[in-house]
């Protein structure tokens, strides 16, 4: 076709799908353009053919069979839906209006999501966060302490050291409330660094712990160093003696 009038517009014109203004322009054009008029006639012929499909319909026996099956399934298992469906249905029927029910469900979902997020963000309370001893004064290295509350760090020394301090969650919550460390407080000090360049007093250590347990330690606090001589970390450590000097620095601040 040589006429540049949009064919898409003609395709809509044949069933009155155009706005009145565009329909008027199209009608005016068709009155003057034989080519477009011929095209529209062809489109109309195809359209009649298409509409003849309306005469095709399913046989009623198929419908009857289908209906019987549906009713049998409904009687057999009901709607057969889970708890989410039951809650939604109860809300909708309770609120009568679908939109109100949806708003209520959305609010509940948001509240639930907020609570879940809160729970998920809470540090895990596990047995591993409670100080575990072997004998009277040997502390077992706790598992998963990196998931505990991070109290300090990353402290970066002028060179390459990163030092982190973790505390078991129960103790942290108590401390946050009262300002005092409760019995059972377990703090882990961990350093990732070049020991040659580290600063005193922990320059040889990579994993230290302090535990508050008045029944075991004089002054309430016991101090432990899990670092072996070769720099690796042991799975347990004996309480450091008074001569190690830990108490001198720490006890005055510990409450």
């Amino acid at each position: 076709m040589s006429c540049a009038f949009p064919k898409e517009t003609l395709a809509l014109h044949i069933e009155g799908d155009l706005t009145p203004a565009v329909a008027e322009i199209t009608s005016s054009h068709l009155a003057a353009c034989d080519e477009c008029r011929h095209f529209v006639e062809q489109l109309c012929a195809r359209q009649s053919l298409l509409k003849s499909l309306r005469l095709e319909t399913v046989v009623s026996s198929d419908c009857t069979g289908m209906r019987r099956d549906v009713m049998a399934l409904i009687n057999e298992r009901g709607a057969g839906a889970g708890w989410a469906w039951r809650i939604e249905r109860a809300f909708v029927l309770g609120f009568q209006r679908h939109s109100y029910a949806m708003a209520a469900i959305t609010l509940i979902c948001l509240a639930s999501a907020a609570v879940l997020a809160q729970i998920r963000n809470s540090p895990p309370e596990t047995e591993a966060s409670v100080p575990a001893f072997e004998g009277r004064d040997t502390l077992l290295r706790p598992e998963g302490y990196r998931d505990w509350m991070l109290m300090g760090g990353p402290a970066r020394s002028p060179r390459t050291s990163v030092e982190l301090v973790f505390i078991n969650p129960t103790a942290y919550r108590e401390y946050a409330k009262t300002g005092k460390f409760p019995e059972g407080t377990l703090m882990i000090w961990e350093a990732v660094r070049d020991t040659q360049q580290a600063t005193a007093p922990h320059k040889q250590s990579s994993l230290l712990a302090s535990v508050k347990d008045s029944s075991r330690f004089d002054g309430g606090w016991g101090f432990f160093d899990f670092t072996r001589l070769d720099g690796t970390v042991a799975t347990k450590a004996k309480a450091l003696p008074e001569s190690s000097g830990c108490r001198t620095c720490h006890r005055q601040d510990a409450t």
Partner: protein, 212 residues
Amino acid sequence: MEFRPDGSLLVQTALSMSRLSHEELSRDAVEIARLVRLTLGGDATAFEPIILRYETRVMTLAARLLGTRDDARDAAQEVFLRAFKYLHRLDLQKPVEPWLMRITVNVCRDAARTRQRRRDTLVDIETPETIDPSADPYAGVARKQERVILHRALDSLPEKERLAILLRDVEGLSTAEVASILQSSETTVRSQVSRGRLRLKAAIDRMTGGER
């Protein structure tokens, strides 16, 4: 095919439904609303007249979308099971039919994804029975041939355009109704319908050896 008591053909299409008076439509809506409330109240048997009211429409649309009687039957069954399950979501202030049409389209889309479409049998199972037996038998053959071409041409359309054409031109729904069923905008539907009509014409022209 369904027949009225006087023997005339009953074809339940949007077009014929649009001929119902407002009074009939509102009476119909009141009755449907009553049945829906009964069903929601726990009387599952009240759902059967609802199925009866819309089964031909749903199954015919499913047949057009999926192409075979068996697929249409399975789809219609799923449509009414879903409708029963989610009946509480139905807004009784609005007509039931578009809601069911939307479910039908969604069910058929799901079915089409999992099954190979087999479009060519509907013509065979449902040859139009409005042919005058006294007329030229060759005319009947020609008409059947025409339908085969038409179905093939429809099959050649992109899915969205085919759906828009079937709902707008074959089912006779308004652009607004089609947009609501397809959860799309009227502008998008107009564009799909327009492109679909042009493509359909081109496809038929190609199959019939040029413009006729």
